[in-house]
């Protein structure tokens, strides 16, 4: 196994996901299969091959820094699950 249950736990925490023990086992197995499959990329010698960051020949896209109309406070909060005083309300951040 390339991927252990402990690794799955670590990655799940990074991704802000949680799984039951049983799910963890299934995911470890499936991720291991997929990573195993991806390792065929190592058959290719990619020394000196530039990674593709964009398929078209464009680089920096610049525009003038001008003030434009944006969403109103009301619209921006329209989908917020919880709000107070015109702001999104969240559970406590600090213990």
């Amino acid at each position: 196994m390339r991927i252990t249950k402990n690794q799955v736990k670590h990655v799940a925490n990074l991704a802000r996901l949680e799984f039951s023990e049983k799910e963890m086992e299934v995911f470890a197995k499936q991720l291991d299969d997929i990573i195993g499959y991806a390792e065929q990329l190592n058959e290719l010698d990619t020394t000196n091959v530039k990674p593709t960051s964009h398929v078209l020949d464009i680089s920096n896209v610049l525009r003038a820094d001008e003030v434009r109309q944006s969403l109103s406070n009301e619209a921006a909060l329209k989908n917020a699950p919880d709000q107070a005083d015109g702001q999104v309300k969240v559970p406590s951040v600090l213990e």
Binding site: L14, L17, E18, L31, I34, A38, V49, V55, P91
Partner: protein
């Protein structure tokens, strides 16, 4: 015969002569939905009240100004990852169950400006991750040709609704084949334009370097009409290309004499079903009969495309989907502290395939693994793109099947991610290279449609349409409609 067995041009003629009204067209759409939706289940939410109201207003407009707009009065369906102001948009995810966008995607604004009417939002694999629509958080869309079969994915609702005659056209999105594979499975025309051709502003991002919106229609000409309307530079999408948009219907003459077609041997090899291969070979004979020539070529890095894609697309997805945390929108599962609120909201909101890809992407990008997986995959992407550049420097188009098989049984592959991923083996390389490609109907095997894929150079959609149209006019497959 349904009104939607006719083409955009014919329907506009009927509108022009006042033989039908926009109200009739919209009513026809909802009537058909009422008749067949129980069997097809293509829609997640309908826009009925607003659409009927818009139709009445357009009929007034018709009296004073005539047919005013390239898509005037035409009933359209939208994949549910395209945001629509005031109309629920869920990406088929429970996490976005209550999400009502406060703005329209650029393509939606463009469709409305051209006169199209939004009939409803279409089912898909959750966040566009899947090849069968079985990953929807809500329902199972069925293939109109055989309701025991999948419609393909992730734009399964987009393909099924057009095949079933519920709408005249739809929009889907294609990250690794998500327009073309369902188009092939449902026997319709599906175009994935060049990366950057159509604005992604308002398309909920899956893999930003690969995603592209495109039209699904019954014919090539209709497809070109829709692409005309949605293409173009958008300052709200920094990756949209500032390249002139030609009239895509202009080159549809049926003449392809002297064109050079490349047929990659990797696209007709192992893993491609014999029935599919036979139909593609017949298609090549048809194209030869029209005066084109074809030669076998090689895209040597094809076999690495699926592996590179799953690393890259999942990595991008893991970053893009970080925004779904139950804080500013979506369904929140409130816990005592913020971190647990994130975790509970995400874990209960996302389905298994989405979690699998977030996990894979997070792993590939995590400290110590970045070079081995993500960077390696980006380098392989360069090699795959180079394969296409080399072949397309010598040939006008590349042709092969869209999918290695016809539509498979519902439930057949759902427990095996790697088998499911292999459905996209012939479509994924195109997204990695950023080139345009279309799927057009190329026959039937045991009553199930087969798709022919035509791939062109960057921004050469006109050439792709020209070949697709000539093939379509020389065959009758697009005239067939499923019996529902």
């Amino acid at each position: 015969m349904s009104l939607f067995d006719q083409r955009i041009k014919d329907i506009h003629e009927l509108l022009h002569k006042r033989e039908v009204s926009v109200t009739d067209l919209v009513a026809e759409s909802y009537k058909r939905i009422e008749e067949v939706e129980g069997k097809v289940e293509a829609f997640l939410h309908l826009n009925e009240e607003a659409a009927r109201k818009a139709a009445r207003e357009m009929d007034d407009h018709l009296v004073s100004k005539g047919v005013d707009g390239a898509l005037f009065g035409l009933p359209a369906g939208l994949k549910d990852n395209i945001v629509t102001k005031g109309l629920r948009t869920t990406c088929a995810s429970k996490l976005l169950d209550n999400f009502i966008p406060v703005h329209d995607a650029t393509v939606v604004q463009k469709l409305h400006a051209a006169g199209a009417v939004t009939i409803g939002k279409l089912n898909m694999d959750e966040f566009a991750m899947g090849s069968s629509n079985e990953n929807s958080g809500y329902k199972l869309t069925r293939n109109p040709w055989n309701t025991e079969r999948v419609p393909g994915g992730s734009s399964g609702g987009s393909a099924a609704s057009v095949a079933a005659g519920e709408v005249l056209f739809s929009l889907g999105s294609d990250t690794g084949g998500s327009i073309r594979e369902p188009a092939a499975f449902c026997g319709v025309v599906g175009m994935k334009p060049t990366y950057g051709r159509v604005s992604r502003f308002g398309l909920v991002a899956f893999a930003s370097s690969l995603d592209q919106i495109g039209p699904l229609t019954r014919t090539v000409e209709d497809n070109a009409y829709v692409l005309n309307a949605i293409s173009g530079y958008d300052k709200l999408d920094s990756t949209s290309a500032n390249v002139e948009v030609p009239d895509y219907t202009a080159g549809l003459t049926g003449d392809i004499k002297g064109l050079k077609i490349a047929v990659p041997k990797e696209y007709l090899g192992e893993g491609v079903n014999a029935e599919v291969r036979v139909h593609i070979e017949q298609a090549l004979t048809t194209l030869e009969g029209l005066g084109a020539t074809w030669e076998e070529v090689s895209l040597p890095h094809s076999k690495y495309a699926v592996a590179a894609y799953y690393i890259l697309a999942s990595s991008e997805a893991s970053a893009n989907l970080a925004r779904f945390d139950g804080i500013r929108y979506g369904v929140r599962v409130e816990e005592d502290n913020l971190i647990d609120t994130y975790k509970k909201s995400r874990s209960q909101g996302f389905g298994d395939e989405v979690k699998r890809r977030i996990m894979l992407g997070t792993f590939a990008l995590s400290s110590g693994y970045y070079d081995a997986y993500y960077k390696k995959a980006q380098q392989v992407r360069t090699l795959i793109k180079q394969d296409f550049d080399d072949v397309l420097a010598q040939y006008d188009v590349i042709i092969g099947p869209t999918a290695p098989t016809t539509a498979f049984q519902i439930g057949e592959q759902v427990n095996d991610p790697l088998t499911m991923y292999a459905n996209d083996i012939l479509t994924i390389p195109v997204n990695l290279a950023g080139v345009p490609a279309i799927s057009v109907p190329a026959g039937f095997a045991y009553g199930l449609p087969i798709g022919l894929q035509i791939i062109g150079k960057h921004f050469a959609e006109s050439m792709v349409y020209r070949v697709a149209h000539a093939f379509e006019q020389a065959t009758n497959f697009h005239m067939e409609a499923p019996k529902l």
